[in-house]
Symmetry: C2
Subunit: 453 residues, 2 copies
């Protein structure tokens, strides 16, 4: 099967379950999201199953939920991504480690340095999920009374990316000589001073760490808006997509990959991994029953808040057992709103039933046996609608273990997933090339290495 | 010996040697400063020897050395402190992990969060070495054309400390309930919104992580200026002192501890650990010869730059084999300048010889056998001029291993150092109390926990 395409699998591990009721499951470890020994064991399980990456989302604050919803959130205390992933780097050998870092309230020098350090500590396993922060409560933790608008956040993000990647290229790969006899540690001619001066940042450089093992850590994005898709086509190497159906997945895949040739990029240099919630059972009905039991653990106070958020309209005042009334147009994400309105209409759900769905997971879900889940994944891959998935597990650890123990072997049997790692870096797992150094292009032995872009 | 005072020992491990020629030693690993498997092994060695802490200094840039000095620096590529210490947290069980973090170019929310995360990951072993950044080259990496002056940096540092410690107190220690049956994860009444609005920062909070295991990570400082001593007496729990002689050490110790009662602090709540460079030999003359051989590895280009820096005056243009001419008064640190001028006069050294000393280590050094070094350490402890030391090793790994294998057993034999850890946290190693939560003072079961300071 080496000639065929194989799936790439990420594990979405912060939070350990996106499902707001998962921590209440009878087999769950309630503090799984904040339990380092457990997370270390799970990372080792995922590595034994040959996952491409362990992925951490992030928030720069406690979300400003009303107390009735906040008190039920298992994510209110969480590890900071760089510290957790570095600790896991010391306890694993191969699995990729993807940290979310926002461009909105950080300095590019710090971000470039931490990713380079994580990449060196892990032997080339770091990835950077670039996000902008839209949450106004996070802004208040960094002295901003108002959140910058969407376009301003994207302009800053683009410049931030340019600075970070420029800093990663501060040293040629062969800059460090370490000739003890002559007393020469580094060749200053193989060091570049960036001296960036842009709209948002002035950063002199160089970075005080060698070029990352991977050249650059893998660049990951999740934006699905029009500017998000364009930025992904220009810069991303992995996209965590959020398409909920095979048909919309196929369209998204064709759209983003279709933009790349005109930008001078090989579409194979970008892997599209939709988020998928997975529930494994002995039969399809068993899996569905598992999900029903899990969804029943969503407290109404959590679910109604999630539903109001998705609709962009507070529906907590309506009769929980009545139907969803017409919802006015708002600024909320149209896709989430339409999904909920359609679901209520098609399945004739009460507000209470709809709230349970909203507090569960409303996006793509594979609920079935190892065989039916493998069938669905194979269909997405061959359509093509994806290059793999970023998987969300239900309760922890059981939901993760069931997937690893039952679905992974089925995917391997079909030749759709690796049985062992062939490379050592995250780039090698994903089949991505190592980027050249813009300031020190690969050259013959007499290359001067000063060809700045 | 449990009634007597014992030494507390830190290991100064970034850089792994302060000595600019150490990486050239025939037994040294030249890339020791940037070699994670080696650093992990050394951390485990230090832990087996019951050291209180592994300590990382830091720089926020490549130091702006002239190319002739820069090319010889083994510290030009280094790990970032939080990523390295987190990776070490996963590979050790007891040793404290002290990270330097500057208040000059960071956001207090990020710093509070990373230290809290490191403290949780390590089971209560984090310490924060608070510094302000005086290096103008670092400022250029963060958009500052000019470095803020000393007083402004200290005002910002003080407010930064207030915000960070306030954020650490965001949750009462008993805030997390995790009642799966009732679906209650956290008690919102046991969460405090800081809402800080000061001269430098506006930070709403709360921090999105539980209160650190230690309450607060241990607060470490190194300032020896008048405002530095006062800030230490007010806030520090460990001071890394730089006194070079027993007499000046005794004066510093008495001065800083003497300020504490008037501030309402118990002098035992602050541990003073002078930096000390240690060279162990079979005889005193053997140790001195080891140091001479090591100092001979300081390249003139490095040494003359170090010397010019300490003098605050460029002496690279003078005859290397002539005497030191009179040096004009400058803004450089007076203590370093006077030490060099005195050394040149007292030992009748040429500029070349003085440069070798400057590129070596000009401060307190214990050079001798295990017995003579233990004698000297005991004298400092009983004077009292210290509560222990922050040790700098010569070449790595040999210089560290010689200290651990030879001096530690001698200190243990005398009852001056622990044979095993009695506690699990850095606070417990140091004999420091766990700070109370300013917003949720310890109270009876009916305490409301809203007694904000």
């Amino acid at each position: 099967m080496t000639a065929s395409r194989q799936l790439h699998l990420g594990a979405f591990m912060r939070p350990v379950s996106i499902h707001t009721g998962a921590w209440r499951h009878p087999d769950a470890v309630p503090d799984a999201n904040f339990n380092f020994p457990l997370l270390r064991r799970l990372a080792q399980r995922l590595e034994a199953a040959c996952f491409d990456a362990f992925f951490m989302a992030d928030h720069l604050g406690v979300l400003n939920l009303p107390p009735q919803a906040l008190k039920r959130s298992h994510t209110v205390t969480s590890f900071e991504p760089f510290t957790l992933l570095s600790a896991l780097a010391g306890a694993t050998e191969r699995i990729g480690l993807v940290a979310t870092a926002s461009t909105s309230f950080e300095e590019p020098f710090h971000v470039a340095r931490r990713f380079a350090s994580l990449d060196h500590l892990s032997g080339g396993r770091a990835g950077w999920n670039i996000v902008t922060t839209a949450n106004p409560d996070s802004a208040l933790n960094f002295g901003y009374e108002e959140q910058p608008d969407h376009a301003a956040r994207y302009r800053r993000a683009r410049e931030f990316y340019d600075v970070v990647t420029g800093l990663w290229d501060s040293f040629a790969d062969d800059a460090f000589i370490r000739d003890a006899g002559e007393g020469i540690y580094v060749d200053p001619d193989r060091m570049h001073v960036l001296d960036h001066r842009g709209e948002h940042f002035r950063v002199r450089g160089p970075l005080n760490i060698a070029r990352p093992v991977q050249g650059w850590p893998v660049i990951v994005q999740a934006g699905s808006s029009e500017p998000g898709r364009q930025l992904a086509a220009e810069t991303a190497e992995v996209v965590f997509a959020a398409e909920a159906t095979l048909e919309s997945g196929r369209r998204f895949y064709a759209d983003v990959k279709g933009r790349m040739p005109a930008l001078g990029r090989d579409p194979d240099g970008l892997k599209i991994l939709p988020a998928a919630f997975v529930v494994v059972g002995d039969s399809v009905e068993d899996a569905r029953e598992k999900r029903r039991r899990l969804d029943a653990l969503v407290h109404y106070d959590s679910g109604i808040h999630s539903l109001s958020g998705m609709l962009g309209h507070d529906v907590s005042g309506y009769d929980p057992d009545g139907p969803l009334p017409p919802i006015p147009d708002t600024n909320a994400s149209k896709s989430g709103r339409e999904r909920m309105v359609t679901l209520a209409r098609d399945e004739n759900l009460s507000i209470r039933q709809l709230a349970a769905r909203a507090g569960s997971y409303g996006g793509l879900a594979f609920v079935g046996t190892a065989e039916t889940i493998a069938d669905e994944m194979e269909r997405w891959l061959t359509e093509p609608a994806c290059d793999g998935f970023n998987l969300m597990f239900p309760h922890i650890p059981g939901g993760l273990e069931e997937f690893v123990d039952r679905v992974i072997p089925e995917l391997q049997r079909r030749g759709l997933f690796r049985r062992r790692y062939e490379g050592t870096t995250l780039r090698e797992h994903l089949g991505l090339p190592r980027p050249g150094n813009r300031f020190f292009p690969a050259s013959g032995p007499d290359g001067t290495g000063t060809g700045a872009v």
